[in-house]
């Protein structure tokens, strides 16, 4: 926050080379302190979060050159700054910044000191160069901020010899232009941020202003490591808030427009006063809307077309709307999300975690998950019901269990109004493997339902399924003698091993399934197993099979403490 108090003195009329150096140093420092904040604003042209870093690196390099100047000469300082920026510029914002300094140097290169007139000329050339720095200038960016700052200085330099006051006006104009950048660039509005490059520029000049108003940057509180939310990014810089936008027409006779302009200017920011002796149009942003209105009445003018908008309230409204929208978005993803994609998947699974993987684990998820599995086989009617509910006319069924395959096929053959295909997935991991192919095809092209079904069917072979469950009675199968209550292990639905000890059983399954030759093991732990237990099991297995990548996911499936996919 910049202090509102100004030290008027003769010193304020002229800045020499040494003082300019100090001011620039302060500008660089202020930018450095705030560069992470600028990075987080960065959404245009690409949201790569490096505008602050790039502008800072550009300025640091430029300032390095400046410090090498020994003569007390504004022109030499400006030329060094421009050269340094040109050589050190990084990124789009850095390039534009370097052109701004190039314009400044061109205007000031022969000047020993800086005056209000010199600043105006420097701004004019800087603005011209900035706009030429990019092939297609876009408004709502650092360019808009530059233009408004320039215009303000050009408008006021003739009346304001005081450089400090002029620089303050310039910074105010910059901030105000910055606040309006979201109105000019939709990308900023969507993200709820102001332009990052423009913010960087304003910071540099704010920093330059600090020493002039007797402020030390070291005292300023900056929290560079906190993640600013969009709400924080939108918060007004001015502690009094965004204020009011006031517009009106003054009708009178023999009015002095120069005087009116100056007086209105002193009341607020973003001032626009145009017209003649009988009609004057006033536009100004102020904290107290009564002030300009009173002033006009006291001049004896009659007022017309009075518009007063509470910008602070508009800001609150925006924040509220956006919060509502975000909450609403979070609520609309429901369990039975009806798909809008051309081809939808209906999968069978049990367990919250398993259902979640089918629905949310992919760029395009399953439109519907029918609860069911080994001991709870959905019927043909359940499939038909789901098919009717899903808002798509091409549907793929993933039964994810051999015992459910027939019901799925029967539903598919009974459905005439919609095209239905069955991908014969026999296990949950097979179904998940097929889902990835489904999402791939739908996000990269416009495939036919048969192409999708075929690719999904091929994907069933990419995975080996290991299942762990408990024997419900004594039995002899596949040459194994199994007792009730023992853990039994299956590989792709074939019972291959049994043990009283879970870990031995899983180890056995890995060995029998040839896990050595695989890359990835995904462990879905079921109901009654804690994450810690699952991770402990994985650590033991990893000790033996350390060539695999492991993932542990809460599947919450009943009856099967562990479902494991080897890929």
């Amino acid at each position: 926050m910049v202090a509102t108090k100004t030290y008027y003195s003769r010193d304020n009329l002229v800045v020499d080379g040494n003082r300019l150096k100090r001011l620039l140093g302060s500008g660089v420092l202020w930018l450095e302190k705030n560069k992470e904040k600028v990075n987080r604003l960065n959404v245009f042209p690409v949201p790569d979060g490096d505008t602050g870093t790039n502008m800072y690196l550009t300025m640091r390099h430029a300032f390095q050159r400046v410090t090498e100047i020994t003569e007390n000469h504004v022109g030499q300082v400006a030329v060094a700054l421009a050269e340094g920026a040109l050589m050190g510029s990084r990124g789009n914002s850095g390039v534009i910044l370097s052109q701004i300094w190039a314009g400044v140097a061109e205007a000031l290169k022969n000047e020993e000191t800086l005056t209000a007139d010199g600043l105006a000329e420097a701004c004019k050339l800087a603005n011209e160069k900035a706009y030429k720095a990019v092939q297609n200038p876009v408004e709502g960016t650092i360019l808009t901020v530059t233009r408004h700052m320039t215009q303000t200085v050009i408008d006021h330099h003739a009346q304001m010899y005081d450089l400090v006051a002029l620089l303050k006006k310039m910074v105010f104009a910059g901030r105000s232009a910055l606040r309006r950048t979201p109105d000019l660039l939709p990308r900023l509005k969507e993200a709820g941020v102001v332009d990052s490059g423009g913010q960087g520029l304003v910071l540099i000049f704010e920093g330059m202003l600090f020493p002039l108003v007797g402020k030390e940057i070291a005292e300023e509180v900056v929290s560079p490591n906190e993640e600013d939310s969009w709400e924080e990014a939108l918060e007004p810089d001015d502690e009094l808030g965004y204020g009011y936008d006031v517009q009106f027409l003054m009708r009178g006779s023999e009015m002095n427009i120069e005087q009116v302009r100056e007086d209105i200017n002193n009341m607020g920011w973003s001032t626009l006063v145009v017209g003649g002796s009988e009609l004057i149009k006033v536009h100004v942003h102020v904290h107290n809307p009564g002030e300009p209105l009173n002033y006009a009445i006291q001049l004896g003018a009659s007022l017309d077309d009075i518009v007063v908008e509470n910008m602070q309230a508009q800001y609150h409204q925006y924040v509220e709307n956006r919060k509502n929208r975000e909450e609403h978005d979070a609520d609309t993803t429901t369990f039975e999300d009806v798909s809008t994609s051309s081809i939808a998947v209906i999968a069978v699974g049990s367990g919250r975690g398993i259902a979640r993987v089918f629905r949310e684990g992919f760029d395009v998820g399953a439109a519907y998950v029918i609860l069911g599995g080994q001991t709870m086989n959905p019927s043909t009617g359940d499939f038909l019901d789901a098919i009717n509910k899903v808002n798509a006319d091409k549907i793929i069924l993933l039964p994810n269990n051999k015992n459910i395959l027939l019901a799925a096929q029967s539903a598919a053959s009974q459905m005439d109004e919609k095209q239905v295909r069955v991908v014969p997935s026999a296990t949950i991991p097979q179904g998940i493997s097929a889902m990835l192919e489904y999402a791939n095809l739908l996000t990269t092209g416009e495939p036919t339902i048969d192409e999708v079904a075929q690719a999904m069917t091929e994907a069933l072979d990419y995975v080996v399924t290991l299942e762990v469950t408990q024997a419900v009675r004594d039995t002899v199968t596949n040459g194994l003698s199994i007792r009730e209550g023992q853990w039994i292990g299956l590989i792709d639905d074939n019972l291959v091993t049994a043990s009283h000890r879970m870990l031995d059983l899983i180890r056995d399954l890995f060995r029998l399934a040839g896990a050595d030759g695989r890359e990835r093991a995904t462990i879905y732990y079921g109901e009654g197993v804690t994450e810690r237990e699952a991770k402990a099991v994985v650590e033991d297995i990893r000790a033996e099979y350390d060539g695999l990548q492991y993932e542990v996911i809460a599947g919450n499936q009943p009856l099967y403490p562990y479902l494991i996919a080897l890929e």
Binding site: D48, T53, L86, M87, G88, V134, V357, Q549
Partner: protein, 293 residues
Amino acid sequence: MTQRIGFITDSTCDLPPEFIDKYGITVVPAFINYNNNSYADDGVELVREKYYNDLPHLRPHPTTSAMSTGLAEEYIMRAAQDVDHLFVLTVPATLSGIYNAMRLALQRLPEDRYTLIDSGNLTFGLGWQLVIAWEIAQETGGDIDAIRKALKKIRVHTHVYCALETLEYLRRSGRVGWTAANIGALLQIKPMIHVYESEVKNDGRVRTFRRALDELAERVRKHAPLEKLAILHANNPSGARTLAEMIKDLMPPDTLTSIFITPAIGTNIGPGGVGAALVEKAWRNEPDHAIGT
């Protein structure tokens, strides 16, 4: 009249030093910024293996940026001294500020002294375009028009495919829009990308490296016969070897089987990736009218 032709590009082209020497190509480095410093991507300031090994642990995450206009200008003016005409080929303007830096820097030269081209591709997708353009310059005695026409045709027959270890770096780079909407990390995936005509396209996801290599081989095969091929990797030479073995039958004689992707690109894709950059032979059958000349 024989024209002396010069070529300038940026360091994302991945041309190895021996190519740069042989063809006399000028390479202006991009920059990698981290630890409050800016490093030139010139093969000297950063050691590739070390940088890739460090990359996952660097905080804040490194970023990349175009060279300064001033630096580009220095390289351009130096190169322009020895030649009649400069061809300047860059990484896509949609992905980097390099094209604009070059454009600004070139303003010091008369317009008839240079041709600035957005190659629409990167790594050896850019590299091969330079190599073929150089070859045509030799064959034609520096026929500027012939080189321009050829480059327009080659561009649309140049493809880069890559399988990445993770989408994280690409997403963080902010340079590719679709990565932002990616579903959370419920399941780990390896993204496949296809770079073509200035766009980084989502080319699907796989779960294992083996699948990634199968998919890559299948994609390269679709473009046969090939005029140029380079196998690329981001600190994964064994992955590159395996892929090379799988597509041995498609290789043109001058195939490069292990190009280590430069840190300026690696910063934006992360370590571990494997890919291929190719130019289809079909570009030579492209009629002139097809490219709007």
